[in-house]
Every structure is written in C-alpha cells, then in structure tokens.
Subunit: 315 residues, 2 copies
C-alpha cells in the first residue's frame, strides 16, 4: 500500500456478469477481469479475490466505485445504504455490496446503479462530454435507464427504474410479458429474456426479419417517447447486449419514436436528425466498467472536498 497510489478500482455488478476494473480512466486501464454473476456469496468472494490481488500488486486503490444492477438503496444514512434490495434476481435480495467492500478496503466508495454509472462515464469521457442532460438506456438481461439531469444522476425517493414503466402496446402484440412484478412493463416486453420468451430462441439467434423485432422496437420507442417528455434528455445512448448486437434496431426505434412523438416537441436536437439524437454509447461496451471508475473518482473528489489539504492558494 502506497500513499501516492493514484489508482481507482471499480466493479460493474451486472445481472449476468461482473467486470472488475483498475485504472484512472479510458486511457489508463491497468487491469480488467470478468466474472459470471452467480450465487451471491460466491460472486462477492470472487470480486474480493480480484481486488485483493490488485491491492497486493498495485497498492490499495484511492477509492472504489460500484455500479450495480438494482434496485439498490442509495439513501445516504440508511442502514441498508449500498445494498441491492428488492431485485428479481434469484438469491440476491437484500445483499450488502458497498458497505462490505468499503469495510474490506478501507477506501471511500462511490455507489450508483449500473446504468447511472455508464451514463456518468459517457458524460466524463464519452459521447456526452458537452452535455448536462442526457440518458443511457441498456437492453440486455433487463432494461435499465441512467438519467442525468444538470450533470448528476437523479435520486428522489428512489433511483430511476424506467425499465418497469408500462407502455402503450403495439396493436397485434398480445405477448403477456415476463416481468414477475408487472408482466408487460417494458422490461417484461423487450429485454433479452423477454425476446427469447417471445421467439422461442435467444435474441442473438433471431434474424433481423423476425417479426419479434417490430414489437421490441415499438416498445423501446415508447420508452424513449416517455423519456423525451419527462426529463427531455439532449441525447439518448442505447447500449447493452441486445442493442449492441442488433444494430438494425436503431433505425426502427428512431422511426417509431418520430412517428410516436408526431412533431409535438420542437427542439433542435430532434430537428437536426434523430440519427444524432438516438446513438450508440461512445465508450461502447466499456461504458459500464468505466462507470464504476467514474463513481470511484467522484467518491475520491467528495472526500477531498470534505477534508481539503492546504494548498498554495489557500495558505
């Protein structure tokens, strides 16, 4: 452990895999390790083993960032702050993540949802670096949305859970949906497992002409319609396993969104061309892990503000 170590450590805790990352940003990634997200105690121990090894090799990280699937408790001061709470993922309900890792590594811990982390990374290093209001949508195991308003992620009485809104259905789509809470919310209609349930085989095996994609594009466009009329992000990034593999969805979603909004919103961002408004993430598949590093950097900065060292200017 060296006091001058500048490295940050991050963990993107996703529904199917975890990515541990060590570095300071996209141009300085020292190590990345991927693990499957399995049984919770085993998964947590594997994450700890990676971080232990990095600590032995590189010194203690200055801060730790955790970008987790949700729902999570983000209320500072709550006894279960930093926990995964009422998740649909079997065996992961009420799991301490941030407090446990913070105690083990004795470092400040930044904690947010995986999608808010990815959005913050796009804002810091990626395709949103000139924007204050934008959003990041991921379609994979679930559907998650990171919402940035005035440069920060939103937290009211809860974090954003836009993947669980109920949307207007496309006429002819009678699929009941698979969300155990809501049935046909957008996650229940258009996530990877929902597509597989619709089509009888995994999304990755469906050709672009499969009829399921029309319903998926319609549902995701409805999610975006709602977002445009709620916080009105200046750009929306679409990422995650399904969208990064099925690039044909972008054009369909863009056209469905245009049709649905029907020119109600007059904003240069829409009029310049929907192709510049609905875009893939600039950091690609690294948006998630880099989100964890962005959260670590924020935690480190917050500690620096809380107890500043004297500087030449202030002395």
């Amino acid at each position: 452990m060296t006091a001058t170590n500048k490295l940050l450590a991050g963990v993107e805790l996703g529904g199917t895999k975890c990515v541990c990352i060590l570095g300071t940003g996209p141009d300085d990634v020292r190590a990345v390790e991927r693990l499957p997200t399995g049984e919770r105690e085993e998964t947590m121990r594997q994450i700890e083993a990676v971080l232990d090894r990095w600590r032995a090799q590189h010194g203690a990280p200055r801060a730790l960032g955790i970008a987790s699937f949700g729902p999570v408790d983000m209320r500072v001061g709550s006894p279960t702050y930093g926990y995964i709470t009422s998740t649909t993922k079997a065996g992961w309900r009420n799991t301490d993540i941030a407090q446990r890792l913070g105690r083990r590594f004795g470092a400040p811990v930044g904690f947010d949802t995986d999608v808010n982390g990815a959005a913050l990374a796009e804002g810091r290093w990626g395709a949103a670096s000139n924007l204050d209001d934008f959003a990041y949508v991921t379609v994979g195991t679930g559907i998650g949305v990171g919402l940035i308003v005035r440069g920060k992620s939103i937290f009211g009485m809860n974090h954003t859970e836009l993947g669980h809104i109920r949307v207007a259905r496309k006429p002819g789509d009678s699929f009941p949906g698979i969300c155990p809470f809501h049935g046909d919310c957008i996650e229940g209609l258009a996530s990877g497992p929902a597509i597989e349930a619709r089509a009888g085989r995994p999304a990755s095996q469906l050709p672009p002409e499969h009829p399921a994609w029309e319903f998926v594009a319609h549902g995701i466009a409805q999610l975006l319609h709602t977002m445009v009329l709620t916080t009105a992000p200046s750009r929306i990034f679409l990422g995650g396993g399904v969208l990064s593999a099925q690039t044909h969805l972008f054009g369909r979603i863009q056209q469905e969104l245009k049709r649905s909004l029907n020119r109600y919103v007059e904003a240069p961002e829409l009029e310049q061309g929907i192709e510049q408004f609905i875009v893939p993430p600039g950091l690609g598949t690294m948006a998630g892990p880099l989100g964890a590093l962005a959260l670590a950097a924020d935690a480190e900065a917050a500690r620096a503000i809380a107890s500043p060292l004297p500087t030449a200017a202030s002395r």
Copy 2:
C-alpha cells in the same frame, strides 16, 4: 414608481383563464384579477391593462413572473425565449409572452410552465416546503406536470410534457382519445375535454358512479406509475379543475397506483401510506397564481446575484 417598492407581479396564463396577481407571497397578496383566455392579442392587452393599472396604483413591480401553459421556449438566449410555441390552443402558436411583458415593464422576468410554477410555489410556501424532489400534476383543460428535481424545475432540450406520454390502456377502454398530436396520450384520455368527449357531458356534471371515472383514474394512475419510476418524486400533488372538484378520484387513483406498482418500489414514502404520497396541493387553487409570484421572486434574486449591491459585510 418607487425604488423601494417590494411588490412582485405575476401572471398565470392558463388554457381557459389567466390570473394576474400582485404581492410577495401567500400572506401578502395585494390584488388578484381573473380574465378569460381568449383571442391572444386581446388577452395580452387585457393582462397589460391590469398590470398598467397596478403600476399606477402601487408603483412598478420589482420583478414579473409568468407561469404559462405550453409548450414554451425556455432556452435562455433563444430568439423565441419566453414564447408559447407549438400549442394545441387555437391562435396561440408562436406567441411572445415574456419578452413582450419584460420590455413593457422594464423589470426582470421569471418564466416557466404553469405547472412548474405551481410546483415551485408548493415548495416555497405550501405542502412541499421540506422536500427537494416532488411533482405537481394538474388535470383540467389539459394534463400538465411540474417536476422538481434537487429543488429546481427540469429543463433538458425541452421542459417536461408528461401529459403527452402514451400509457397502457385499461382493458375494455376503447376511447380513441382527443389529442390532435397523439390521440390517446394521457391528456387525450383523461383531461377535462377528454372526459366530456367520453361521457357526452362536462366532467362537472358526471356523478361519481359514472363508468368514465374508472378509465380516468386508471389513466392518471398510469401517469403516476411512470413518474414514480422516472424521477421518483417524494410526494405528488394532484390539482387542477377536474381533480379539485372530483375528490372521489383520489382514492381510486391511489388504489390503481398501488396495484400497478405491485410493491416493486420499496420506499418509506410509499410504505407509510399512499394517502400521504398522493395528496391535494397545500395552496389549493392558489398554487398556480402563487407560482407566478415564486418565479418573479426567483428572477429578482437572480438579478441580485448577477449585480450585487455592496453590503456592510463586503465593503
């Protein structure tokens, strides 16, 4: 005109009526005048006549606040800043409001949507004075939502237009909706004119047992479901002509919302009882006009910050 005049003037410009207000807050309202919202030039001249008369009687107001129906242009620096833009209200498209009144009265002008204004008034003087994240929904001529995040109204590439989201339809509801842009968006399904189109007579003449109310309550509950999962306000105020007259709707909306969320969100605000979460505005029907005063106060404060007078402390 006196330099020591502390009075603020406000205009709530609504879809059916305008309310002009003079004062400094709910305990100091000096004058209120209501006008029908008619043809735009005539309406603007009537507003100007009221403000002219007040100026002659009480001196020039220190600042002016305008809380307007929308959509409006809130981009500071835009040539059409302070305009009503693509409204569905006949004859009011592209109407200069804030620049015109600002020039006439030579005072700083605060400008926001009517519902954001009402929400800000609830935060300053009403039932949200201990909250940073809350929302105000009005159901009347249209459906509008004021969204406050970290103490301020939201503006991304546009202001919030949640009244135009498309919601999941209640089974059995085949009403096509009346929104000229979207048909069955929530405004097209559950606003006052939509209720009249459903039932063949005005909302005010329908008894609580009329079947239209079930569909209206379901639609509004879907709007709230989306809001809970987007910015997650800590409390939601329901106001406007329809809701203030039809108090039976509150219980129905609360129960529909609970059923729809299905315990997915675990937050004390919901668990303490939905009756404390979905509530009437604390300022009642004065929330709108007081919103205009709140905007005037903010404009005055912003000018004070931009060019501070020397104070004892700073000299």
